[in-house]
């Protein structure tokens, strides 16, 4: 790995270790890493918004390619209006003029909500209702014995589970008697559903940790001690141990502080 790339990787490794150091205590390295992240990601977002958003969608259409004439002879000159509406959004910050920003918000919220109503109704309610009307697999009711997804009894469990879970989320009738029983069955089904997503979440979080271990091991440690590589130079090793040293120094200072408090408290109590 040549020098430039190695320096950047070791910066990444330092930042990774400083975020992990939060596990011990909120410390200066973690504060530095978090504030750096907030700034850099905001800057990245400004660039992406400008290049991918404004330049192609607004200026590209206004200027038809040659920037200086802007909207004078562009075929789509009317795109200047969404530009103006967009600029009106910035009046939100001045108390006197913030009513101006209500117009672009009205335009944007109106369209976004109007667009969502039929599509959310169709895809979350209609299609799921249609999918609930499944024929039960009567001829192989018991299917291939226990735990067969295609079997009739599974279809019934799915239907009864969905209906009872919907009943649990029904607020216009008290959960008493038979209705209460169905609601109880509903909350039990919900709990199994939540248990399943709990299991998957554990796997998800651990794979994030594994990814970081793979990065620190494969990209950083291996390259720091890759003597056979032709553009390896001893600086790599030095840098590797320097980063480790930073965290060691911090750990030792914390340990000394811990000892000082212990002695102080033991002196006080003695």
């Amino acid at each position: 790995m040549e020098l430039g790339q190695y320096l950047w990787t070791s910066l990444g490794a330092f930042l990774t270790l400083s975020v992990f150091s939060f596990l011990y205590k909120d410390n200066p390295m973690y504060k530095f890493a978090e504030h750096l992240f907030v700034g850099v990601s905001a800057g990245y977002f400004v660039i992406i918004l400008w290049h991918d958003g404004l330049v192609t969608n607004l200026f590209g259409r206004l200027a038809d390619g040659h920037i200086y004439k802007l909207w004078l002879d562009s075929t789509k000159w009317w795109y200047i209006f969404p530009g103006i509406l967009g600029l009106m959004m910035f009046t939100r910050f001045s108390h006197k003029w913030s009513w101006v920003s209500r117009w672009p918000v009205a335009f944007y919220i109106g369209i976004a909500t109007g667009l969502s109503i039929p599509l959310e109704m169709s895809n979350r309610v209609n299609r799921q209702l249609y999918a609930m009307m499944e024929p039960v697999n009567w001829d192989s009711f018991m299917g291939s014995g226990w735990l067969d997804m295609g079997a009739g009894y599974s279809d019934i469990i799915v239907f009864v589970g969905t209906v009872s879970a919907l009943i649990y989320f029904y607020f216009s009738k008290a959960h008493t008697g038979v209705f209460g029983g169905a609601a109880k069955l509903g909350i039990w089904t919900l709990m199994i559903g939540f248990g399943a997503s709990f299991g998957f979440t554990v796997m998800a979080r651990i794979s994030l940790l594994i990814n970081r271990i793979q990065f620190l091991d494969k990209n950083w440690k291996r390259n720091s001690f890759d003597f056979t590589n032709e553009n390896f130079n001893p600086l790599y090793q030095a840098l590797f141990w320097l980063i480790i040293l930073i965290f060691l120094v911090y750990a030792v200072s914390e340990f000394l502080k811990y000892l000082k408090n212990k002695n102080a408290s033991s002196v006080k109590s003695a």
Binding site: L23, Y24, S41, Y44, F45, I48, L49, D52, G53, T56, N57, G60, R61, A112, L115, S116, L119, E120, S122, N123, R124, R127, Q128, Y130, A131, V158, G193, A196, S197, F200, T201, V202, M203, A204, R205, I206, S207, L208, L209, I210, N211, R212, I213, Q214, D217
Partner: protein
């Protein structure tokens, strides 16, 4: 104070230490975990494997670096599988922090195709992947719901030019591609909210086959869409990626990672059991003490 109270009062940092040591031990020892094959992932693999050369698939790399750990193995496995079978690929990256990472991933995979490889006994020759011929990266636009709907009419509406600024009409691949009708499958890899938009605004409206690669956290929530046919296949978290790698006979980051998943899961399960057994044991003898 019995062992359980002392165990409960233990500082949480010792637990962190215990978990990281277990993970490192597993990481540095090389035992392999057999990967089960579930039909959710099999459906996607079989569909892509059955596509004749020259067909166009749409891969939406709609996630950001935070879920890269679980979703990159899926993206790499699917795109390499598609390129190996001479399929054309159109990319988008509709998540805010995603475009840079997606661009990097595409170049990594294109480079890895320069080596001759054999998968499932079939040897695939080395190949040069050209932007604009084999793939087209459309890039990012805010408001993914509107972008997905607009692409139904024509890709050019929301994306006059691709991520690198070249107009779509000057790319040979995009000349005959207008909207989802020219795409044989959309593989949407994301960490949740953009997937909802692909179901409601994309598949719901234009009816193309939609496959999904999801982070572990969101996987369970999308099974209803699998059964109702709105989604044809789901890859759930690192296990889903490992299954796809296993089927494509292309072991990568996911299979390497599964080695650590197993012991880490056992640690969590052990903790839950200890916690509960200790909790009930101490409550029982607290009742005996009172009565």
């Amino acid at each position: 104070m019995n062992w359980f109270e002392r165990f409960m009062k233990l500082d949480r940092r010792w637990i962190y230490l215990f978990l990281i040591t277990v993970c490192l031990l597993a990481y540095y020892s090389d035992f392999t975990v057999p990967t089960i094959r579930e039909k959710e992932t099999g459906a996607i693999y079989n569909f892509i494997d059955s596509l004749p050369a020259g067909e166009v698939i749409f891969v939406a790399i709609d996630y950001d670096p935070s879920s890269q750990a679980e979703l990159h193995p899926m993206t790499y496995a699917i795109i390499e599988h598609a390129f190996r079978k001479n399929l054309k690929v159109v990319f988008t990256a509709l998540s805010q922090n995603g475009p840079g990472m997606a661009d990097q991933a595409i170049h990594d995979i294109a480079d890895s195709m320069r080596v001759e490889q054999t998968y499932n006994g079939v040897s695939y020759p080395a190949r040069e992947i050209a932007n604009g011929v084999d793939y087209c990266f459309l890039g990012y636009k805010p408001y993914y719901a509107l972008v997905i709907t607009a692409m139904g009419q024509d890709f050019r509406t929301p994306f006059p030019a691709d991520y690198y600024g070249t107009p779509l009409d000057s790319l040979p691949l995009m000349k005959k591609l207008h909207n989802y009708d020219d795409i044989s499958i959309v593989v949407e890899v994301s960490s949740g909210n953009i997937s909802d938009a692909w179901i409601s605004y994309g598949q719901g409206k234009f009816g193309f086959p939609l496959a999904m690669g999801l982070t572990g956290v969101m996987t369970a929530q999308y099974y209803p869409f699998l059964q109702s046919g709105q989604v044809m296949g789901i890859m759930g978290g690192l296990l889903g990626a490992a299954q796809y790698e296993d089927m494509a006979d292309n072991p990568g980051l996911a299979k390497d990672g599964m080695r650590v998943q197993l012991p880490a899961h056992l640690v969590i399960i052990l903790f839950i059991l200890i916690g509960n057994i200790g909790h009930f044991a101490s409550r029982k003898n607290r009742k005996n003490v009172q009565s």
